[in-house]
Amino acid sequence: MIVFEKNVASTFQAVHEAVEEIMSFLKSQWPWLDKSILFKINFLLRELMNNAVEHGNKFSENKKILCRILKEDQFLVLEVTDEGDGIVLLDHAFPTDNVESLLRERNRGYQLLLEMALDVSVAGNQVKVILDLHPEQEIRME
């Protein structure tokens, strides 16, 4: 079931405002969501939309991103579609045992998506992330 849908301009500020709106909506709809899950949703939405704005639409004023949020049982699906040429994912993980890799200044967002979400999938210019809303089954970040 779609619970939220919004077209967002291709700027970081528009993404920020959209995330604020979505978070207010989710808190009002489901006040039982705990702060750990709210933090993850906030983080994941920013990663998905900032990537779409920067790498998909390349900050084009003529292009929008579509953010759609669906709820399926205990799962929240975050779906972001841009108007770019499609996404090419890195086919390797970054090593976590050397300083240079840990302190890299690029390519951090996608790896965090993989670590924080239950599932991440890509189809063309759309990225879909599934998050488990059930706190007992939530994968803790620590």
Partner: protein, 101 residues
Amino acid sequence: MEKQIENRNVIYTLSEGLTANKISEYSQYLDQTLPDVESFDEFILNLSQTDTIDSTGVTFIISIYKKMKVLGKKFSISGATEEVQGLFKLMKLNQFFEMRS
């Protein structure tokens, strides 16, 4: 973002999120206000009023850490929420700098 100097610590406090839409503003403020290198020993980033962060914000923190390392200064984070601290632990960045409550 506001700057304070206490003893030989320079403390920058964020009053908004550490997110992509704010990073160029923070970087510019930092460039304009970072004190003379001889006048401080430690750079403290106070996140007590910040509950949102994204990977651009994480990169911003890493860039300050690297800059302070080059200058021979200590870098630490204070007041981060449990969730922000958890994020840094997830990325194994907590081994590089202290996170004070």
